[in-house]
């Protein structure tokens, strides 16, 4: 099981799922209409490191974070 966290303005509780890569996570989240709208503009971190490939392998216990567009300052 991996854990998915939605940060900032995404009004969604975190959830857990079975996944061996980000590809699996992408497919699962795309089926949720509410989340799907955010996917185009969100960055993704695995265990608090930003990642850039869907092939990123996942292990049980990993934390995946979705980071929507930012505006600090």
């Amino acid at each position: 099981m991996v854990r998915i966290e939605f940060l900032g303005p995404i009004a969604k509780e975190s959830l857990e799922m079975e996944a061996t890569s980000l590809q699996d996570v992408a497919e699962a989240l795309s089926s949720d209409e509410e989340i799907k709208a955010w996917l185009q503009t969100c960055a993704v971190a695995v265990n608090d490191t930003l990642v850039s490939s869907l092939d990123t392998p996942l292990r049980s216990g990993d934390k995946i974070s979705l980071l929507p567009p930012v505006c600090g300052g």
Binding site: L7, P9, A26, Q40, C42, L54, L67, G72, G73
Partner: protein, 148 residues
């Protein structure tokens, strides 16, 4: 030196402390950037969410980068609500030479705006409204949206 505060920053106190802490360290230039909430668009203030683990990594990578140039960065940011004409953000660079400091404060503040995991909300009638139009997708965003 990354400092997070609940609500508005005490700007004179932070600047006094940062200046004092480096006063004997032979930096010739100190440039703080102070961001203040403007009275605009009928807001009562702004509110901020911060994801601290990634902010800390982002900040640490900057500290390493500027250290290679003999410089130092400091940053303070507010969490939660900050009223109009109060300050939410201070960044600062210390370096031996002015040219390095002027270049770094610009690069640091711009990368902060583009990359730091902080979300801004307008406060109107006590409610938070995500400042979507003023927000920037972090570089590499959309990864999970590439799947059909």
């Amino acid at each position: 030196m990354l400092e997070l505060y609940d609500n508005a920053l005490d700007v004179p106190e932070i600047l006094r402390r940062w200046y004092g802490s480096e006063a004997q360290n032979n930096y010739g230039a100190f440039i703080p950037f102070v961001g203040t909430v403007r009275d605009e668009a009928g807001i009562e203030g702004l509110s901020f969410d911060i994801y601290e683990p990634i902010l800390e990594r982002w900040f640490a990578s900057w500290q390493t980068r500027v250290k290679a140039q003999g410089a130092l960065v400091k940053m303070a940011h507010a969490k939660g609500d900050v009223g109009i004409h109060e300050s939410s953000y201070i960044a600062a660079v210390f370096s031996a030479k002015r040219r390095v400091a002027l270049t770094l404060i610009d690069a640091f503040v711009e990368d902060f705006k583009a990359s730091a995991p902080i979300w801004k909300y307008d406060l109107k009638q006590g409610e938070r409204y995500y400042a979507k139009e003023r927000s920037t997708p972090i570089e590499g965003s959309g990864l999970l949206g590439a799947v059909e």
